[in-house]
Symmetry: C2
Subunit: 766 residues, 2 copies
């Protein structure tokens, strides 16, 4: 058993990140807020188009929550992050005034008080000028000029009773206002006051959290928070990012305001799909009736998945004060309020129950359940690029906390948020276009396209065939079958039988491999790896270890020097200290080392080991070399001397032993190159890829190989074929994901690696 820590047994530990990973860490283009208090109902109001009545819905909901007849008092926070047409149009002012009016109107005999305020935080210079010009006409507004604009505030108190704090509270805020009534990204172009997505989210997150107050018995508080977007779901925000992307890191429950007009079924369903494609939960659709009963086809096409609420037609006369309309609508808004409240309660309850339920019915891999009490189970609400959104309870608050996925979900997750959304759309497309498609004797675009991308990338210069499967272990088992057949053919161990080619069972095939190696958990993959904690009788009763396992020379970095550590068995007395130290990775990987003294020592050691092995039995043969190039990952993140691996490959080639590279961990830029083989400077006969290949989003693995290996399976008998399939499918979705992900990282405009970016952009320059 190696003494190194076993990575999968220690999921919390993390080896030094690769340069690419470090780059990934440093980006926070789609940063989510560090934490968000979700103790109370919080939602985003979206529109299926512009002008469908988002603000009237926000006001109606606020008026329903802040009703003088309500048995419970409440605080309602209304946030309008982005307002154009300001100050002439101000949705927060509309909500502020309308809800105050309605409160007054509904007071009747109730002893209740509403303290309402409206507050604009920042305005562009042209918008601010307009506010200042208008100030003398509108008493009660206060202004404070800012560099880019102005901060204005108005408040009012409505109601009866003695309370000075106000029983009910309405807080309306506009975060950013521009003067022209155009899309925010255009308003920024014309009026200035650019706002980065991350700044907007930061301000918004702060406002949401501060609204939750402090101290007191928080459970008794009744706080509601509503964010109203601008325009339609995919309308651009100030930076040009579309809003359904911009607000995604919060992933708040969505209320979609539908369109009751002709054409409104289409825009409502499509808007619903755009929200869904970004992982939002749409808890209700609400729309104003225009005599077309749009709710009926909406409900049936949504298969009653989402409730659809209908409001009476909104009076078109701008002079109408809407009081009658709000009265008529009160039942619909009350339903909306109940729906939001019950969805919220159910969500919180479910988040609370999840650790217990998980402990009761799930069985986690590589986990000793006895050591995982309920309280350490992590409840993952969602992922946004490199971060999880995790549910936590802190001081009685229901928090959604950002947690960096430090081990990239055990080295499988790659995409940032932008790629994640691209993949989501492509997955949907591929599922709709193909569903499941069987593969043998068939061809379809994703399988072919992905194969082409693989062969012109990680397979370039050596591979010509692509064999798909589901995961790394399977890819390895397939690779071994390929290598063994090639070995038998090359070494004339295949014999003609009646029904085609056959071979004698009396030959026993073994692999040549390294101690500390790891190739997966299915028996065949495990048989190719050296004994370890994973392979004990208790863990894998059928493991026997069908290999000759060598001790490899390893590299460790100390004080910026790359040091070589050679096992004693190498008889390396003649090695000089200067052979063992490298000032840079370039020096270590340098091809000129192939003719160094140490290359001779390696070569002699390997030859000797193979000779000793061959003497043990004439029926037992080394049929394949299998190594993880450069880094042995699961076995403990050990770096192997690349020279040793190159010599190994050379010695095996000389003996007609096919070479298998397990690149499941190292593949696709993990080590700064698309493949580790590229870094190592030599090519295999067979190589396995998985994990990052499909952006980690879906199980897919591939075994690439040469035409010569492929030819070894050709013959007149079907039984000569490679009999390994699983779902017998090249997984349209998996190949789609892989193709997208491979292209994304190959493209200097989207690859996060600065060095790669610069090099590629130079190549592209005229």
């Amino acid at each position: 058993m190696p003494s190194c820590p076993l990575l999968p047994l220690l999921p919390r530990r993390r080896p030094p990140p690769s340069p690419l990973l470090l780059l990934l860490l440093s980006r926070s283009l789609h940063s989510s807020p560090p934490e968000l208090d979700l103790s109370h109902p919080t939602l985003v109001v979206w529109g299926s188009n512009t002008g469908v009545g988002k603000t009237i819905v926000s006001a109606g909901l606020a008026a329903s929550v802040l009703s003088p007849s309500s048995p419970n008092t409440a605080t309602f926070l209304y946030l309008k992050p982005v307002q154009t047409g300001f100050p002439r149009d101000s949705d927060s002012r509309f909500v502020y005034r309308k809800v105050s009016d309605l409160f007054r109107h509904r007071l009747g005999g109730f002893s209740a008080q509403l303290l309402a305020s409206n507050h604009a935080l920042k305005a562009s210079v042209p918008a601010a000028r307009e506010v200042l010009g208008a100030r003398t006409e509108r008493p009660g507004e206060e202004g404070e000029e800012a560099s880019t604009g102005l901060c204005c505030y108005e408040e009012t108190r409505v109601g009866t009773g003695e309370s000075t704090t106000g029983d009910f509270k309405l807080v309306c805020k506009t975060l950013y206002g521009w003067k022209e009534a155009i899309s925010p990204h255009l308003a920024v172009e014309r009026e200035g006051m650019a706002v980065e997505d991350s700044s907007l989210r930061e301000v918004l997150g702060r406002l949401l959290n501060s609204s939750m107050g402090g101290g007191g018995d928080r459970r008794k508080e009744n706080v509601w928070r509503v964010i109203e977007t601008a325009g339609g779901v995919a309308s651009p925000g100030p930076s040009g990012s579309i809003q359904c992307d911009l607000y995604r890191p919060f992933r708040l429950p969505a209320v979609l305001v539908g369109d009751g007009h002709l054409g409104g079924i289409s825009t409502t369903l499509s808007a619903y799909e755009s929200l869904t494609l970004r992982g939002y939960d749409v808890i209700a659709i609400i729309l104003a009736d225009h005599g077309l009963s749009n709710e009926i086809p909406l409900l049936s096409n949504l298969r009653h998945r989402v409730p659809v609420l209908v409001l009476p037609p909104v009076p078109e006369d701008p002079l109408n004060d809407l009081v009658d309309w709000f009265c008529e609508s009160s039942k619909a808004f009350s339903s909306l309020q109940d729906l939001v409240q019950s969805t919220h309660s159910k969500r919180i309850q479910r988040l609370h129950d999840m650790p217990r339920k998980a402990g009761n019915i799930l069985w986690w891999p590589f986990t000793q359940h006895k050591l995982v009490p309920e309280e350490i189970v992590t409840v993952i609400d969602s992922r946004c690029g490199e971060n999880f959104a995790v549910h936590k309870v802190r001081n009685d608050r229901e928090m959604i906390v950002r947690q960096f996925d430090a081990c990239a979900s055990w080295w499988t997750q790659g995409p940032d948020f932008a790629l994640q959304i691209e993949l989501a759309r492509d997955m949907g497309y591929s599922a709709a276009r193909y569903g499941h498609v069987m593969f043998p004797e068939n061809v379809y675009e994703p399988a072919l396209h992905c194969a082409e991308l693989l062969l012109e990338g990680v397979g370039k210069g050596w591979a010509s065939r692509t064999y798909y499967s589901d995961n790394g272990s399977t890819a390895i088992e397939i690779a071994l079958k390929m290598a063994f057949r090639k070995f038998l053919l090359d070494n004339e161990m295949l014999m003609d039988s009646g029904n085609g080619i056959s071979s004698e069972r009396c030959i026993e095939l073994r692999v040549l491999a390294l101690n500390g190696s790891y190739h997966g958990d299915t028996l065949g993959a495990m048989e190719a790896q050296a004994p370890s904690s994973y392979t004990g009788f208790l863990q894998q009763p059928w493991y026997s270890g069908r290999g000759l396992f060598l001790d490899p020379p390893t590299i460790f970095i100390h004080k910026e020097i790359w040091n070589l550590s050679v096992p004693e068995s190498f008889e390396s007395d003649q090695l000089k200290p200067e052979d063992m130290r490298f000032s840079s990775s370039d020096a270590l990987f340098c091809p000129s080392r192939d003719s160094s003294a140490i290359a001779g020592i390696y070569s002699a050691y390997i030859s000797n080991q193979l000779l000793q092995f061959s003497k043990l039995s004439c029926s037992t043969q080394i049929g394949a070399l299998i190594i993880e190039p450069v880094i042995q990952a699961a076995g403990g993140m050990h770096m192997i001397d690349p020279l040793f691996q190159r010599i190994l490959v050379r010695e095996c080639r000389n003996r007609r032993i096919p070479v298998v590279f397990d690149e499941v961990f190292t593949g696709f830029w993990r080590l700064g190159k698309e493949s580790a083989a590229e870094l190592l400077g030599c090519v295999p006969d067979v190589a396995c890829f998985g994990k990052l290949m499909s952006g980690g989003i879906i199980p897919l693995a591939v075994t690439l190989t040469t035409e010569a290996v492929f030819e070894a399976f050709k013959g007149d008998s079907k039984l000569m074929a490679l009999l390994h399939g699983h779902s017998y499918s090249a997984h349209a979705m998996g190949c789609t994901a892989a193709a997208k992900s491979i292209q994304w990282f190959r493209d200097p405009f989207t690859n996060p690696n600065v060095e790669f970016k610069e090099k590629k952009l130079k190549e592209l320059a005229p």
Copy 2:
């Protein structure tokens, strides 16, 4: 080696379909046209909303193709399947007149002739009345009254030259017209003339094919075909189905007319996503400019994936004859024409190249490539429910042909088209919400929800733990590890070592299994199956067959009688013929057989076999029973006597040998019940599911087990844990797909099985 044909070696063969499968076959709710000639550019014009100018785009494209200055003549077919507001509004009439006008206008000195016609095939009674009333005013129209409406026709000839056939040809057709300018589903409600989706598609398919003419050198023809939809992409058609679903079986290239107004970025992007989520290829977006430069954020948010073309603002004056506007737009339409033409040519070229490329770079599982020449490779363009759309060349025509997926993609595909689209959206949602999420010590909704559904369904009454993996083979390897550990614990073969519990390597564990069994292709799964063609040294050099393999009694149906065939080794002389024949499956599966004479014979045979085996070596133990309940699938579709399997389970239970059911093939309604265990009438300790579980759309498998088996892995040492993981993930997308699929088939409203439906609906009735 069994003499039966090996299913995966013979993918074209098909065993008798199950009752459920037969039901699936009989449905054709989403039938695609049997074939479609795609030799020439054919596309659908979609709108991002109603009123965005689809018709003006169709007319512009037609005018561009039918330009007197064009070096090549052409035929342009314009189809408007659904027209409301008819005959006052008639998009086909608009195209007919406008293109004729433009042709005349552009004639100049060219010697060219256009023959244009407009034809309305069917109208509702109110619409027909209006046409008849208007007829006297409009000379040149011909009418023929139909049961539900009217058929009217107009044609015109424009141009100079001698030709009598017309150098250029424009054929405009409205398929169905309703009078009121409302959504088609409402118009049907009010005016009648209901049109089923399948009828509409049939008529449309016929018109498209007939337009391709007959005889002559088809390659020299220049035919264009455009279908224009009604309203937005997700606006309902006459039946209430939304149009992006209605036209999906054709999956024609899409041109999306975007919206240049405020809010138009959002509706355009969302409409694009709705098309994408149904597997359409959007080849261009085209929109009229309204001074907002909507094309810029559209292009950047689409990452330049789709070209966005801009048209000059459309004059709002209804009296404007648009001739000037079309002249200004001619460059944009010419670009659109080129784009459509080149996309079409590239698509056809790619479809042609695919078989050759596939033969060159793919490696299919279970396939002897030597026996698969290029011409038998199937090019799958897409799937629609149970049918593939396949590319074929017939008499020089480029055809997309419907091909029934007779073996359900090797028993993995289940969903009909409706579920396929639901799954596509859910996949998109799940990918966006979670991406890849690591599983150990974490919980997230899809993994938990799917586990709950599994345990209340196929695990009901026995299982309490859910272990996820990627495919059936892996699920089997996990199941064997579980069973062996339980066996060692129950039989006191685990010993305390320093670092926790351990066991001696000197015990050799074997499975009890049946000849003809098959459990997958990874080594561990293969070791648990009896020797077969799959397991030869040539196919799997490491196979040894670690089991005691018994010959099972099988069932074959002859003349509606279920006959039992018992192997000779059973010494079954005392069996009477009446014991061997069953008039129904009920009689065969009846639990009362457990106390029959034959039960005693089975019991004695099994006991004797186990006794003989135990005498061979005291260190070799049977540690698990593994069977495919009821049907041995890949081994040749043999039905095993259910009584024999029940007795096997009982005998193993008596000996504390854990029981594993491999339900990867039989699970999830394959045999009319959610699990085969339910049909068999007994439960296992461990069961494996895959394939249909996730609707076949994504790799996912699960191993379910009891709490007692789970407890066998608990201890203070991490090494006691079950060390098997692969991507260490419960696959958010896979679990989402499985949850949706499980619920779909459990729901009487969506499950296609009539018997199940009736039973469930009775249960639901008050």
